[in-house]
């Protein structure tokens, strides 16, 4: 038996996972998303990674995220790649900054905007 806290939403359901023959018996989830979470967490855990990157010619950083969750095992390699990035303005929210981050198949996108004169508009 494993007890997990579902992190998909702030309710934070305590989910119980029991081995059931070849499958998993999952109980305690408040909604279907908890089922998917528990199954993934037991087999291939994933997390969305957020960070900041440098902006050429600006004192402010640009916030970024992986477009969707990446395998937990790739987080460190992804951070190394993110730290090496410097973006050049303008950047628009949602813009892809790097495809296939750390071989995860997932893109790194901007979560803020910097306009031409290098100030972060939506900071």
């Amino acid at each position: 038996m494993t007890e997990l806290t579902c992190i998909v939403c702030p309710v934070g359901c305590r989910i119980r996972v029991d081995r059931d023959g070849n499958g998993l018996k999952i109980t305690g989830n408040g909604c279907p998303r908890g089922l998917t979470y528990a199954r993934e967490e037991m087999t291939a855990p994933q997390r969305t990674l957020t960070a900041v990157v440098e902006v050429a010619g600006s004192d402010c950083m640009l916030p970024v995220k992986t477009k969707v969750a990446i395998p937990k095992a790739k987080i460190w390699a992804a951070m190394q790649e993110i730290k090496a990035i410097t973006v050049h303005p303008p950047v628009t929210i949602g813009q892809v900054l790097k495809e296939d981050l750390a071989g995860s198949g997932v893109a790194l996108v901007a979560t803020g905007t910097i306009d031409q004169d290098e100030k972060r508009e939506n900071l």
């Binding site: 702030p10 997390r47 990674l49 916030p63």
Partner: protein
């Protein structure tokens, strides 16, 4: 001569609360709205909250803080009736709704408003630092200021850190420091339970194997120019440190995450009554304070776990201000809330009869399998904890005017430890 402008509504503070309130008031037909923000840009605290987990309730998708703020800025642009004044600080609000402002661009400007919405947010409580003996070297930060320094300015504070306090900002910062290569030796929490959301304990500490020491505190800070180590000790049931059981943790950075308090200097000046349990104004179901025509919403009213709740509640306040300006919701009937067993605070404190009111309730201590009672209403809860808001919408039929108040309590639980 002081420049005075007459407007329908002034919103003080351009964070998520102020933005949502202004948009809702405009949608409800208010014409001359001024939204005043002291910083150079809107968004309040959100731009520094680069992690995700915002918007699940409100937008039904997972956004980061800057993305959440961006959504509201796009909304604001659709409302030309809202005049946004950034770089402008409100220095005084009076009971007859004069709002005094100062800015580099326009100097002193006074607005005579027919209604005011207070949305100044909260600030960090520095208290924890004051009680710790030892030196005051460099390397001590509050969690929120460190969040700003790292996420906006790209500053890295040191190599090894200890975090005091397990509220959400402390947990989020533990992960943030770790990802930037700074070793977080421990998160210490005075209470026997974490004050943060459970999901944050899992995804910020357990994911990175950062130890959480419950019932522990910092008893001394060591180091001359820079923090070199901290002394840590467990605390007894009376929360006093058991120094003989203490140990030292070497670190060059100490992060204090010891809670937030609503920012209410302006509210006090206006004569608004504050609730000692929340630190924010006493409000009714419309987020109307005890002063006619002055409303309050967001973290200025009570510290929220989730910005989504801030947006929802602020929209109620914005619509209510519009109703007030139409001459409605004056002299409405309400009943006071009376906090019973294991209840620390309830917002709103005054419940308007004859309509449903969503409540934000906080427990005093963690418990399992409890019965939440609100007036005549009942609801089972599996787990309650001071770190997580308890939601309940009280319906008109659950309120009895003859009682004279609405009791809120948690009954029959087991103490969870």
């Amino acid at each position: 001569m002081l420049n005075t402008k007459e407007v329908d509504l002034v919103v003080v503070g351009g964070g998520p609360a102020g933005m949502a309130a202004a948009v809702a008031a405009s949608e409800a037909g208010v014409e001359a709205i001024v939204l005043i923000e002291r910083q150079a840009r809107l968004g309040g605290i959100l731009p520094q909250c680069i992690h995700n987990g915002f918007g699940l309730r409100f937008f039904k998708e997972e956004l980061t803080g800057p993305e959440y703020a961006h959504r509201f800025m796009l909304e604001l642009e659709k409302h030309p009736g809202i005049e946004v004044k950034t770089g402008t600080m409100v220095i005084k609000v009076t009971a007859d709704r004069q709002v005094m402002t100062v800015s580099a661009a326009e100097g002193l400007v006074c607005y005579q408003a027919r209604a005011v919405i207070l949305a100044m947010g909260c600030r960090e409580r520095p208290r924890g630092a004051i009680n710790i003996p030892g030196t005051r070297p460099a390397g001590i930060y509050t969690a929120g200021s460190l969040q700003y320094l790292m996420n906006i300015e790209g500053f890295l504070p040191g190599r090894t850190a200890v975090i005091l306090g397990s509220g959400d900002i402390g947990l989020i910062m533990a992960r943030r420091l770790t990802l930037e290569g700074i070793q977080v030796k421990a998160v210490l929490e005075l209470m026997p339970y974490s004050n943060g959301l459970n999901r944050n304990v899992v995804q910020c500490l357990e994911d990175f194997k950062i130890p959480l020491y419950l019932s522990h505190t910092v008893t001394a800070i060591h180091g001359q120019k820079r923090v070199e180590k901290v002394s840590v000790a467990p605390v007894g049931a009376d929360l006093k440190p058991l120094v003989e059981k203490g140990f030292d943790l070497a670190c060059d950075t100490l992060v204090l995450s010891v809670g937030l308090i609503p920012e209410n200097e302006l509210s006090l000046q206006a004569g608004v009554e504050l609730d000692p349990a929340t630190g924010g104004p006493v409000v009714d179901s419309f987020y109307h304070t005890t002063v006619e025509g002055i409303f309050a919403c967001g973290n200025v009213a009570h510290v929220h776990d989730l910005v989504d709740d801030v947006s929802t509640e602020s929209a109620i306040a914005g619509r209510a201000a519009a109703a007030y300006l139409r001459g409605e919701i004056r002299g409405t009937r309400w009943l006071p809330v009376k906090a019973g067993r294991n209840i620390r605070s309830v917002v709103p404190q005054r419940i308007v009869t004859g309509q449903a009111t969503p409540l934000y309730i906080r427990a005093r201590f963690p418990e399992r399998d409890v019965l939440l009672q609100v007036g005549r209403g009942r609801s089972r809860r599996r787990i309650v904890s001071p770190g997580e808001t308890i939601y309940y919408t009280v319906k008109p039929e659950e309120i009895s005017e003859t009682d004279g108040w609405i009791g809120v309590s948690l009954e029959g639980g087991e103490i969870d430890d």
